[in-house]
Amino acid sequence: MNFVPNTEKEKKQMLSFLNINSLEELFTDVNEEIRLKGPLKLPKPLSEMEIVKHMRMIGSENSDIQKYSCFLGAGAYHHFIPSVVDHLVMRGEFLTSYTPYQAELSQGTLQSIFEFQSMICELTKMDVANASMYDGASAMAEAAIMAAKYTERKKILVSRAIHPEYRQVLRTYANTFGLEIIEIGIDSGLTDLGDMESKVKESVACVLVQSPNFFGYIENLTDCVNIAHQNGSLFISGVLEPISLGILKPPGDFKADIVVGEAQAFGNPLNYGGPHLGFMATKEEFLKKLPGRISGMTVDTNGDRGFILTLQTREQHIRRERATSNICTNQALNALAATIYLALVGKRGLRKLAEICVQRAEYACGKIAKLEVYELISKAPFFNEFTIQCSESPKKINELLLKKKIIGGLDLRMFYQELENCMLFCITEMNSKEDIDMLVKALDEVMN
């Protein structure tokens, strides 16, 4: 199968139109010395039937989490995806189009991006948002770069309670872009505000905090913003689990300057970590500093409403060396899924869903903390994740849980050397009361 529609006869007609005898003659410009002499060494081609069989076989070497009761979150959230989402994003007109350079043929994509931007602004209570970014981590890195350019400062203050892999990505970008990363310590599961205050100097471009943070706890954003603004640093607020925005006060209300986050939880599957999608929102005055695509409303020659990629002079394909970012592709289809999801759940649904998550998490946490050998690391309020300290190694506990078809919490030792025997649990609407009760029972049993 090669998906080439032309028949041998048609190919011959085309060759004869070109006055040549063979396909080979079209490649005489490729130096003979570097031409591939034999065929590529790849497994033999498969028919559609065979590829389906082959891929099912590889898929079955994995255990999807439907087969387990799973309590993992940590930046990738297992929420229910309404059937409508898949059906709509699979429509070929959306799926097989590209960046909407030609607005008149891309009104569907452009309007859906505009709706996405509007919903992100509403959720975060910010003025403007872009069309999406690769993921929450690159959105955070791009925001730090944007803040550094705006303030003309090089130091980036980062809470250690931010997702460790986001901080790793940030560090990679910072090394390249000549920025200095300074970390703020953690105190009982929260960003250490005293440490933050001592480190916010006039040379600091921005302060980055995620809330709820990686351990699940809700940060004191009022104090964070005040401390950051003391010396004219920007405050960048991160969102890891966006369902939390259904119930928590939005970062814009705390006067954050830039809000970045991950929106996978809105209608996008886990996909073993990608594709997910990042978002970035900011204040009106920073609009022209925003990286990435932006869809704007305008009119056509008849005066009718339409949408178009706007402020393109920020972008690489026009501005080249002077672009705000090198970003070309965003995550349009994932953003479409998020938009459709948010339209479905709407105002009441998102709030209700957030309530289910927070109430069930509260229930699970209460039950686990009552068990003899498990303790909460913090008394701080949380949304749907919380961190528990155990008297055994999480590795051992998880191995025992796995035998009972439970995927337990994340072993935090993987990222924090100092957090020995700590596990991060996540509860969503996918974890029923029955699942939670089974987890609690199993946690009790494995310690006895």
Binding site: L40, L42, D86, L105, I247, R360
Partner: protein, 476 residues
């Protein structure tokens, strides 16, 4: 607009019961949200709204989409089914490795397939898109020269390059030096030799270049750059012309990215998600992002052992869902199928180029690879510009080509038909282009006022930039 269809009290989902006893929230009142103005719609409202939006969008499934350098080929439907299997899409990135052996295997095998196709020695699948791969490559170049204690500031970029190349370079703190294209559409080798010195870090080259021409002096170019101790980065966006024909390693390439959403047929999704894996030669392998996937006997695992790694460029492991489709595509086609792809992509491009050259100026009349560039310059004397021709093509049912790029051709139209288009489609497109050339002479206003049949007439981009409205507001 979705917000305008909102009716208070509607909802499009059914949620489960709380199930647990309701307790008083521990979250303090001043941390709770007061209002949330998302729209309220029923399920059927949402389905109709987005179906309507899809109907005013154009994809490869709708028709011919010859957007140059974007490789808008047909995306096999079977790959969508495959990527939706629970064994691929319902995997948590932190679930235990023993439950993820299939996923790790797939990534491992995809990397080795990409190595075989390009001649690179190792691939990182982390980069999310071509521009991301490019950035990762330049980060590696920077780290590599830092280790060698060499202060090299310059990146050489031909003037025909994609805009992402200079943007990525400057982002990484390099200076860019533009290398001119000569009269034959190739990199001006004299200019290159003159620009290349001990300050040169990298040459970023696209081959076939954006004129669709295979760089005649590619070996000499690479040798020159290497003789100064600099690296060759290949922008692999145009790999669709070279599958099974030539491996970039043979040209002398040290690093390159591939665009899974171009060459390997994963759908473009309206602008992502994509995949931009980065391949390197052995001597740069240790610099690749972590983690990578290794194999010991029959077991696959994530490895964090790369001593000089630049670090992580993406959380988790990259756009896995995109990798599944690319892997499946490669396995369906095999060696012969991939070579067929390039041969037919090149045949289609040459056929169409020669069909169009009577009506339009063809600035470089030589054999092309998978794409070519014509110019609307002949039509400007009638007051018709390339933009107008592009818009008029919409009335004939075609997506326009890439326009005004590459910058070195005036009134450029960059056309990439891909291998998945039939002769009839190419003939129909050529016929439409012929009619437009006639209209430009006989009825230029018809062309200048195009499009006529699309859902909106020509949109005012100036207004959109001057008075940006980027979110819904009842009054707008």
């Amino acid at each position: 607009m979705i917000f305008e269809k909102s009716v208070q009290g509607r909802i499009g989902v059914s949620l489960p019961e709380l199930e647990v006893p309701k307790s008083e929230l521990k979250i303090p009142e001043n941390y709770l949200r007061q209002e949330l103005n998302l729209p309220e719609l029923s399920e059927v409202d949402v389905v109709r709204h987005y179906t309507e939006l899809s109907e005013i969008n154009f994809g490869v499934d709708s028709g011919f989409y010859p957007l140059g350098s974007c490789t808008m080929k047909y995306n096999p439907k079977v790959n969508e089914n495959i990527a939706s299997l629970p064994g691929f899409r319902d995997l948590h990135p932190y679930q235990p490795e023993e439950l993820s052996q299939g996923a790790l295997r797939l990534m491992y095998e995809l990397s080795s397939d990409l190595c075989e196709i390009t001649g690179m020695d190792a691939f990182s699948l982390q980069p999310a898109a071509g521009a991301h791969g490019e950035l990762t490559g330049l980060m590696i170049a920077k780290a590599y020269f830092k280790d060698k204690r060499e202060k090299r500031k310059n990146i050489l970029i031909p003037d025909s390059a994609h805009g992402t190349n200079p943007a990525s370079s400057v982002g990484c703190g390099f200076d860019t030096i533009k290398i001119e294209t000569d009269k034959t559409g190739n990199v001006d080798i004299k200019a290159l030799k003159a620009a290349c010195d001990e300050n040169t870090a990298v040459l970023m080259i696209t081959n076939p270049n954006t004129l669709g021409i295979f760089e005649r002096n590619i070996v000499d170019i690479c040798n020159t750059v290497h003789s100064h101790g600099a690296l060759i980065y290949l922008d692999g966006a145009n790999m669709n012309a070279m599958l099974g024909i030539v491996k970039p390693s043979e040209m002398g390439v040290d690093m390159m990215h591939l665009n899974l959403h171009k060459t390997f047929s994963t759908p473009h999704g309206g602008g992502g998600p994509g995949g931009g894996p980065l391949g390197v030669r052995d001597f740069l392998k240790d610099y690749l992002p972590i983690p990578d996937i290794e194999k010991e006997e029959d077991r696959y695992y994530l490895s964090y052992n790369r001593s000089k790694s630049i670090g992580r460029v993406k959380p988790f492991y990259g756009n896995f869902g995109v990798m599944v489709k690319a892997y499946s595509y490669i396995r369906m086609l095999g060696a012969k199928g991939l070579k067929d792809v390039s041969e037919n992509a090149v045949l289609n491009a040459n056929y169409l180029m020669n069909k169009l050259k009577d009506d339009y100026l063809l600035p470089y009349d030589v054999v092309c690879k998978h794409e070519f560039v014509i110019s609307g310059e002949k039509q400007t004397k009638h007051g018709v510009r390339t933009m107008d021709i592009a818009k008029r093509l919409m009335d004939y049912g075609f997506h326009p080509p890439t326009i005004y790029f590459p910058l070195i051709v005036k009134e450029a139209m960059m056309i990439e038909p891909t291998e998945t288009e039939s002769k009839e489609t190419l003939d129909a497109f050529a016929e439409a282009m012929h009619k437009i050339a006639e209209e430009a002479k006989s009825n230029p206003d018809k062309v200048k006022n195009a499009p006529h049949v699309t859902v909106t007439k020509r949109l005012d981009g100036v207004l959109a930039s001057r008075k940006p409205i980027v979110k819904y507001n009842k009054e707008d």
